[in-house]
């Protein structure tokens, strides 16, 4: 879908990236300063590489050897920026129709009515961007980009300024958009949870180069954990598939390495793949299998590793797959935990 060979030099920073992006939802992950936004800007045509190639489908957007550099206006790429960038002097309706009006009728793929409905912005149309919340602004920016019928959508941390609840709501809309409009999305993020819940493919960047690319769960366990410990060491990511839905209990059962885990009911078919994220501090440890307990999951496992921290302890427990658990130092002493101890994890 997208072939990249990019070389861009700044005073004390270089971007050197060769890669191919072929999945409908690819996340670009990396710490700030890794060159993620510059990468998006180069694909969009807002910044030009010093040399290299950018090919989208069969269209050459940039080729330094052949002196080709298509202007951003002619690339047919949508761009959602971190800070919505709605035009402050126009109403929301004028904003969302801005790109659509610059497009010949025959090339307009999406209807204003449908997009407005999908994103739930009907009641905002006559307002100006000024009084809108962060989430509303981003939904309007998404509507504006969609109505311009792009063949690729770039998103530069569009949820960075949103609170957790609005983030989930925006993600819901984004999923809906991807489902309804089958639009390839390239999504820059520094938030591992977002990457996992969405992406089919993750490209990890560091200091302007690619350090890993592949399925999120694989890349996460191999690369992100070792390179960006801060962003992952407090969360367990478990790759699993759905076994059954217990609708009357409001629960779904998933399995990973033969171990069953109950989760709140989700709207995905049986057998489909899910990635669970479980915070290390959300898990309790017991030496005996507890009885009459409200928690739905009790997994038996063996302590593999004990990592001492300032006031806390991180246990690595093998329950069929590896899980990290954060406990207090006092708990380590009270339970007399050692490597090899059998424990029960409760969550």
């Amino acid at each position: 879908m997208l072939e990249l060979d990019l070389h861009k030099h700044f005073d004390n920073f270089h971007i050197q990236l060769q890669c191919s992006i072929s999945h409908p939802f690819t996340a670009i992950f990396g710490a700030s300063g890794a060159g993620k936004t510059t990468l998006l800007n180069m694909i969009a045509g807002l910044t030009n590489p010093n040399r290299g190639k950018i090919i989208l489908e069969t269209k050459i957007l940039f080729d330094s050897d052949r002196g080709i550099s298509i202007r951003p206006q002619h690339r047919r790429i949508g761009y959602i920026f971190q800070e919505s960038r709605l035009f402050p002097h126009m109403s929301i309706r004028e904003n969302i129709l801005y790109g659509l009006k610059n497009l010949p009728k025959s090339e307009q793929r999406f209807q204003e009515k449908d997009v407005v409905e999908t994103l739930g912005i009907g009641m905002l149309l006559d307002r100006t961007p000024k009084g809108l919340s962060g989430g509303e602004r981003q939904r309007c920016a998404l509507a504006r980009a969609l109505l311009a019928s792009p063949s690729l959508l770039l998103m530069d941390e569009p949820m960075a300024a949103l609170d957790r609840r609005t983030k989930l709501q925006f993600l819901h809309f984004l999923k809906q958009v991807q489902h309804d409009y089958a639009l390839p999305i390239l999504y820059v993020s520094h938030d591992v949870d977002n990457v996992l819940s969405f992406a089919d493919d993750v490209l990890v960047m560091e200091s302007g180069t690619r350090v890993a690319q592949g399925k999120p769960i694989n890349v996460l366990s191999q690369t992100i954990r070792s390179r960006f410990p801060k962003s992952t060491d407090s969360t367990n990511y478990i790759s699993a598939h759905i076994v059954e839905h217990r609708i009357e209990d409001g629960q779904s059962v998933v399995q990973s390495n033969g171990v069953s885990v109950c989760i709140p009911l989700i709207d995905k078919p049986v057998q489909s793949h899910v990635t669970l994220s479980l915070h290390t501090s959300e898990i309790m440890v017991s030496l005996h299998r507890p009885k009459q307990i409200s928690a739905r999951n009790v997994l038996e496992g063996i302590v593999q590793k004990i990592t001492l921290r300032e006031t806390r302890v991180l246990l690595t427990v093998d329950v069929g797959f590896s899980m990290s658990v954060d406990i207090a130092r006092a708990a380590l002493v009270d339970l007399n935990l050692q490597t090899g101890t059998t424990v029960f994890l409760i969550f």
Binding site: A44, G45, L46, R71, P72, Q73, H74, I77, G78, Y79, F81, E83, R85, F87, P88, H89, Y98, G99, N102, L103, R144, A145, A148
Partner: protein
Amino acid sequence: MSSETHVIFLSFQVALLATLLILPAGIFFGWLLSRKQFWGKSFLDALINIPLVLPPVVTGYFLLVLLGPNGFLGAPLKEYLGVTLAFSWHGAILAGGIVSLPLLVRSVRVAIESVDRGLEDAARMLYATELSIFRRITLPLAIHGIVAGTVLAFARALGEFGATIIFASNIPGKTQTIPLAIFTLINQPGGESKVKVLVIASIVFAYFSMLINEFLIRKLHHART
């Protein structure tokens, strides 16, 4: 019409036409200096701003050398087109315009620089042409600053003395604007009462121009937040 009223009316006409004359150039250079990187940008910037610091009399002298009856451009203009700018009403307009241009360019530049380039990039990603971006995004968002600069340029043209007296001369009823009339009357016995009228008129115009300018700049900043 009394002679003072005529002087005020003429000054208004000259200043208004001078402002309109430089408005397209002022917007173009303001945009060019704020948005484009090119070789010789600093030289162009300095050239446009020279009249701001040069004694206006010197600006008038250069205009005379360039566009006077025997000037580099003035002689062919007169010969082929029959146009004489020096010592005429048109000359007063040109002199007022040249000295006001730097103020207009500066205001436009600041106004355009205050417009978030990110909005222009967003418009680019929505297939807008560069001209359309300027017309529909940059200009509306900078308009208060541009109008404020225009008012400032108008006020400056109204008060122009040095370049006008050299290039357009001080011809009553033709090129004699308020400052020139004050200069003449102050040297005439019994001219004080007329001077007072013109001085008061000058102060009123200047004060209101600055008031409008300040109001529009506030609006420009308000639109940003």
